[in-house]
Homo-oligomer: 122 residues x 2
């Protein structure tokens, strides 16, 4: 019998590294190395995702069924057999959404306590 799915809220709060990984996968399946590059580029160096942190975090996320590995391969001419592709599971999407809502609330508090100027308010 499969383990009961824990409620998304029980994984919160996510560490900054883990949330960056989930954000990266929210755009579609990716392999590990490209997650690393995308996070580095997107956060403009604010969060540097090291190889060690990434692959251990991915192992944990697989274990928690937040992320799963794809069976299929891309078209042979685009493929690199060393790659392993990952995507968010349904649970993973819910966890990422719940964390996003938590951060939205936090930003609301930051705003009301004058930590953000008007032009910072996305």
């Amino acid at each position: 019998m499969p383990r009961a799915t824990p409620p998304p809220g029980s994984f919160l709060p996510l560490t900054p590294v883990v949330f960056e990984i989930l954000l990266s996968l929210a755009a579609g399946p990716r392999h590990g190395y490209s997650i690393m590059q995308e996070v580095e580029t997107r956060s403009r160096g604010a969060v540097r995702l090291r190889a060690g942190s990434l692959y251990r975090a991915l192992a944990r996320l697989l274990d928690d069924a937040i992320v799963e590995e794809l069976d299929g391969r891309p078209a042979a001419d685009l493929d690199d057999e060393r790659r392993r592709y990952y995507r968010l599971t349904r649970l993973g999407q819910r966890v990422a959404a719940a964390e996003s809502r938590r951060l939205v609330r936090q930003i609301g508090v930051a705003r009301s306590r004058r930590l953000l100027r008007q032009e910072d308010e996305g």
Copy 2:
């Protein structure tokens, strides 16, 4: 000669616990125990700040000059001599502001990747 003040960005990303503490102090000075209560209430239990985490985080924040202890005491009839009051330093405000902007950008990404519904958008 005092240590040169490090740039606010060098403290990023903050751990969820640390950002909650800074958010709490952004509203004004507080003593440790009341930070714990405020975080628990405000985040509706999503982030449970334990005594151990709180006081060790405060010690680190004092050491990094992100938080400082108040000399003065409140009026004697409101005081409890066991309490130690903390407030954000100028650096602390800048660090909290920088982290807030980082989260605003993350939320923008989460939104564009359909992790948030319209009514979640604060």
